[in-house]
Symmetry: C2
Subunit: 136 residues, 2 copies
């Protein structure tokens, strides 16, 4: 298991990049617009992991409400696992509260699921499984 990414919610992505890229010296890999999730995301590699700077682009999403309450900052961490279904089954059996009890597939074949902060000491945790190459 390793930390796949740490997501930081910011009100102004360009201002955040001036700090994380220009001052702190991280590399900006790419910026993605994700209208279906109502966010614009900058990816900055950091060792085996990366930082995601997430700017909400729509009203009335979960992250917009979270930002209104907190002002922004570290929003969730994402752990890469080998077998997300086994991990979710173990969590569920132990009584952990899952926001997505079944893994959700992204278009690129990766799977993700979220664990509720109530079960984790106050941290929104995403689990993530890379897509498996299919046999020829």
């Amino acid at each position: 298991m390793h930390l796949e990414h740490l997501a930081i919610a910011v009100a102004d992505l360009d201002a955040a990049l001036r700090f994380y890229r220009d001052v702190l010296g991280l590399t900006l890999e790419r910026v993605e617009e994700l209208p279906s999730e109502g966010v614009r995301v900058a990816f900055l590699p950091l060792g085996e992991s990366h930082i995601e700077l997430v700017q909400p682009t729509q009203e009335e999403t979960g992250i917009t409400r979270w930002m209104a309450k907190t002002g922004g900052g570290m929003h969730h961490l994402c752990l890469a696992v080998d077998d997300i279904r086994a991990a979710l089954a173990r969590l569920s059996a132990a009584g952990a509260e899952l926001i997505t009890p079944q893994p959700v597939a992204r278009p690129d074949g990766t799977l993700y699921a979220f664990i509720h902060p109530r079960s984790t000491g106050g941290v929104l945790i995403e689990l993530y499984q890379k897509s498996q190459p299919t046999s020829p």
Copy 2:
């Protein structure tokens, strides 16, 4: 640069370990009592990084006040750098607000410093430099 650790502030370290160690499956490396900082810390390796679960053990510390306000959760991230003085000079020249403008030495020779969340999009960031082996 890599993520040295991610610190999660919790009210009950044993309850947090039941999740992070027993359910999520991370390894508990050690628990340290740090009376000088008013905390008890559990270290759980995670790839090249680790998670620190931090339980306040005294009233009237910065972390106690932060927990009273937020309920706990991700408290700070720590970046390992090769040259902390050069990093602080660059941050300072760029107008970043430093909580510790000069690096602070721990007994083991490591150096650390904190950047204020006002300069980082809402994230308390620690910089950390490993102690250098002295020449024989």
